[in-house]
């Protein structure tokens, strides 16, 4: 008892508060957990079970939001590395293997920078403008189908929603430029407003032809309609529309050659000049999320979304074989499953280690075993991936979607490393005098063709 008294005397004030609380938590904790598990748990499960749609929606949204950050990270890393290789440089290569963790560290960096509001800036608007930009960028993810069945919400006015929400980004940019109390930001904001508004029209018009062809505004159904071979993709039926969409989307996302809103050789950083810290992080990430979105849109609308270019099942059907499918039933092995799980890794490691061990006489055995284990892991992952691809259609769809989207991201990054910037009057002239008539022409020709074909 005296030891306890003495120990209590040695504690600081903080200690005297925290230690008793810890003891309380140790005692109360299990009781609370049991209560939650027995009483609250089933009730919660009942409520959720009664509304599967809401659950699905919430899960989808969470998934999509969580995905947008890593996607931005990947795209930032790609941009830095790809442009570096185009410039005959190396790019980031310190953090992580070949600099792969560079964007993560950049994200941490913006979190730790001083977050101040410049004197004279409108504080409320200054704080909320990047939020608007980021939100409107991410909200577009709701309707983009990542695979068959993998869509946030299959709105039947999906395309309209897309352009409406995506067009609100300009509000955020304008607010950011105006509220910064800086002439460079003002110029950048105004330029961006003019640019986005001008290119909004060809962008929307270029997909109206697509809507006519597909008969629906739902992005999911447009993606579904491109099933089959790659000749079914809409790019072959609407080549002009695809081209106009590509150019207008580049301008919408403020990418080179249309990046004069952030032209850093003229107006320093445009609308983002006065931003630092996490607010700048929002704007920065919003730009890259935008890049992913326009790539995803390009893929979804014109390049078949999640569909593979060749339809293996139709080839097999023509030959006479049944479609590829996989039906695994590991439970039927019974005790054999346990033996398999214990024996297979060891055996396969040894088998894969053997060539390494035998090929070089100076290699120690443990090194060969490690290498063998690595190869076993690689092979295992590849096999599992293949199984997933064949077995789950959404897995195959997701793979193809990501592949195609990132291919377009690569194209956008490539354009950034290659082209100089256009001037504001050349940009506006191009939108109003060339893209708009071209989009209208596309629309008329499509409509006429539909009527002729139908009759």
């Amino acid at each position: 008892m005296t030891t306890l008294n003495r120990a209590w005397g040695h504690l600081t004030l903080t200690g005297k508060v925290v230690i008793p609380l810890l003891f309380l938590a140790l005692v109360v904790g299990p009781i609370v957990t049991i209560f939650l598990a027995t009483v609250v748990g089933p009730w919660l499960a009942d409520v959720l079970g009664a509304n599967p749609e809401i659950v699905r929606f919430v899960v989808a949204i969470t998934g999509v939001l969580l995905f947008s950050i890593p996607a931005a990270f990947i795209i930032i890393y790609m941009e830095l590395k790809v442009i570096a290789f185009m410039n005959l440089r190396i790019g980031p290569d310190r953090v992580g293997p070949k600099g792969a963790l560079h964007s993560v560290v950049a994200g941490l960096k913006v979190l730790t920078k001083e977050d101040f509001t410049p004197t004279g800036a409108d504080r409320l608007v200054f704080t909320w403008a990047p939020v608007i930009v980021f939100l409107t960028a991410v909200m577009v993810f709701l309707v983009i189908p990542f695979g068959p069945g993998l869509v946030g919400q299959d709105l039947n006015i999906g395309l309209l929603y897309l352009f409406a929400v995506g067009g609100m980004t300009v509000v955020g940019l304008l607010l950011a430029g105006w509220s910064s109390f800086n002439k460079y930001s003002l110029l950048g904001g105004l330029r961006s407003a003019a640019q986005v508004i001008s290119y909004e029209i060809p962008l929307t018009l270029s997909v109206v032809g697509l809507i006519l062809l597909a008969g629906t505004m739902s992005v999911y159904k447009i993606a579904e309609a491109q099933q089959g071979w790659f000749t079914d993709w809409y790019v072959f039926r609407q080549p002009l529309g695809a081209l106009i969409f590509f150019i207008a989307a580049t301008a919408e996302a403020n990418r080179t050659p249309f990046d004069l809103t952030e032209a850093d050789s003229e107006i320093v950083a445009g609308f983002a000049t006065e931003y630092s810290g996490m607010r700048f992080g929002f704007l920065f990430f919003a730009e890259y999320v935008n890049v992913f979105i326009i790539s995803a849109l390009m893929t979804t609308l014109f390049f078949g979304a999640w569909n593979a270019p060749i339809d293996i099942n139709s080839i097999l059907a023509r030959v006479g074989l049944s479609p590829v499918s996989v039906s695994l039933d590991p439970g039927s092995l019974g005790i054999g499953l346990l033996i398999l799980l214990l024996v297979a890794p060891v055996l396969l490691t040894l088998i894969f280690a053997a060539p390494f061990y035998l090929s070089r006489s100076s290699r120690p055995a443990w090194q060969a075993l490690v290498l063998g284990f690595l190869v076993f892991n690689l092979v295992g992952v590849m096999l599992l991936g293949l199984l997933a691809y064949i077995g789950w259609p959404w897995m195959a769809g997701l793979t193809w979607f990501m592949l195609k989207s990132f291919l377009f991201v690569y194209v956008f990054v490539w354009m950034r490393g290659t082209f100089p910037r256009v001037r504001i009057d050349q940009l506006m002239g191009f939108a109003w005098k060339w893209l708009l008539p071209a989009a209208l022409l596309n629309l008329f020709v499509t409509a006429a063709a539909i009527i002729i074909v139908k009759s």
């Binding site: 410039n87 005959l88 460079y184 050789s265 082209f419 910037r421 504001i424 009057d425 050349q426």
Partner: protein, 412 residues
């Protein structure tokens, strides 16, 4: 200097360094005193719809520390006023207090991109004051290294031009080219950038094996590399559209403004100091003076293309120098302490940016009495205001980059 342990003292309200709420909005580019000259009054008075935009000393594209005050009406630049002095180092005053030999290293950082030319004109002026004859081998080496540096400077100009217009890749290609040449020059001068190579009466070191082998490598690839450089940006539609018709300078105005070098040759006037007032061994060498923009004057695209033309001429000159290189000493014999006769001398060379001249007055002591440096970029920066009438902000960059200014020389 804060004492450690002392809490941070917030400045009081009457400290002129802090700005109170009612002073917000008084940050203008307008100077805080009444206008002193006609032009200042004209420039710093705003009409309806105009505002000042300050492209301040810290800016990614002003070729150094240059402040340009733009008076803009929306996106259109109505007038502009360059403000200099951020890189002013008092080189002329320093030269007055330096020995004649020391001046060569003082004068290098003027146009740090092409510093051998910055040494050449003072050295020529001093040689006139001392009545020294430079050995022929030294003259040929001077021409050879000078023309190499001209190629490097023009290729770097190409990259800068693209960078100011938004293309991020060509500057790196330019630096690859420049790196090769600069390594070559480092083999004989010992320095990659501020060479300190020319001496009064000759040059510092003779050509050596490393230089010759690097030069041979480079020459074997030079013509093809030049073709590639030309093709890099000439056919890029965006690039050409940004430069064509922007900043048109006609011949008469160019002469009146004192322009020289590629800027005046792109306006159709074939004025090149190497032919107009031949110096060194240029009379013996065969090369052409390319000009562009015959009728109506030259625009930014002409200035860009002309510098590419000049690179091929420089390669020709380098070839001839290599073939005709005489043997002999590389330095005239001079006393270590130089005391030229009292008098005045002027010498001018064709630097990559234009006519670069030195006026030296000697009073018989070992330090010059006055040394005036005439830098071409200084004169060309006046042209920006002239050429920018009613163009857009983005064209400011195109025009300024096409005039190829280097702030070191402008601010001395």
């Amino acid at each position: 200097m804060t004492t450690p342990g002392k809490p941070h003292q917030h400045p009081s309200a009457d400290d002129p360094r802090i700005m109170l709420d009612d002073q917000i909005g008084q940050f203008e580019a307008v100077p805080p005193y009444p206008p002193r000259t006609e032009r200042e009054a004209e420039f710093y008075s705003l009409r309806d719809g105009e505002m000042f935009l300050n492209m301040g000393p810290q800016h990614p594209s002003t070729h150094g520390v240059l402040r340009v005050v733009l008076k803009i009406n929306g996106e259109q630049v109505v007038d502009l006023d360059p403000v200099l002095g951020y890189l002013h180092r008092g080189v002329e005053k320093l030269c007055e207090n330096s020995d004649y030999h020391h001046i060569i290293s003082q004068v290098d950082p003027l146009e740090y991109v092409s510093s051998l030319f910055m040494e050449w004109a003072p050295v020529m002026a001093f040689e006139k004051l001392l009545d020294v004859e430079v050995p022929r081998r030294a003259e040929y080496i001077r021409v050879l290294t000078g023309e190499l540096l001209r190629v490097s400077s023009h290729v770097l100009f190409q990259g800068w031009m693209a960078l100011d217009l938004g293309g991020l890749a060509p500057i790196l290609y330019s630096f690859i080219e420049r790196d090769e040449i600069v390594e070559m020059l480092a083999a004989i001068t010992g320095q990659r950038m501020l060479f300190n190579y020319f001496r009064i009466g000759g040059v510092n070191g003779d050509l050596n094996h490393e230089f010759m082998s690097r030069l041979g490598d480079w020459m074997s690839r030079a013509a093809k590399q030049h073709e590639a450089n030309i093709g890099l940006l000439n056919e890029n539609e965006i690039f050409v559209r940004r430069m064509r018709g922007i900043g048109r300078l006609d011949a008469a105005m160019a002469l009146r403004m004192g322009a020289s070098g590629p800027n005046i040759r792109a306006s159709g006037v074939p004025f090149d100091v190497r032919r107009a007032h031949p110096y060194s061994v240029y009379p013996e060498l065969e090369f052409d003076i390319p000009t562009r923009g015959g009728n109506g004057g030259g625009d930014s695209l002409d200035r860009y293309l002309l510098r590419l033309d000049e690179v091929s001429q420089s390669i020709r000159i380098i070839d001839q120098c290599l073939h005709n290189m005489p043997d002999g000493p590389i330095m005239a014999r001079l006393p270590r302490l130089l005391r030229p006769r009292p008098g005045r001398a002027w010498a001018a060379v064709e630097a990559p940016r234009g006519l670069y001249g030195t006026y030296a007055i000697s009073d018989g002591t070992d330090q010059p009495f006055r040394m005036k440096i005439h830098d071409p970029s200084f004169v060309h920066l006046q042209l920006v205001g002239l050429l920018m009438k009613n163009n857009l902000i983005a064209d400011t960059m195109a025009v300024m980059a096409s005039l190829d200014p280097v702030m070191g020389g402008i601010d001395k």
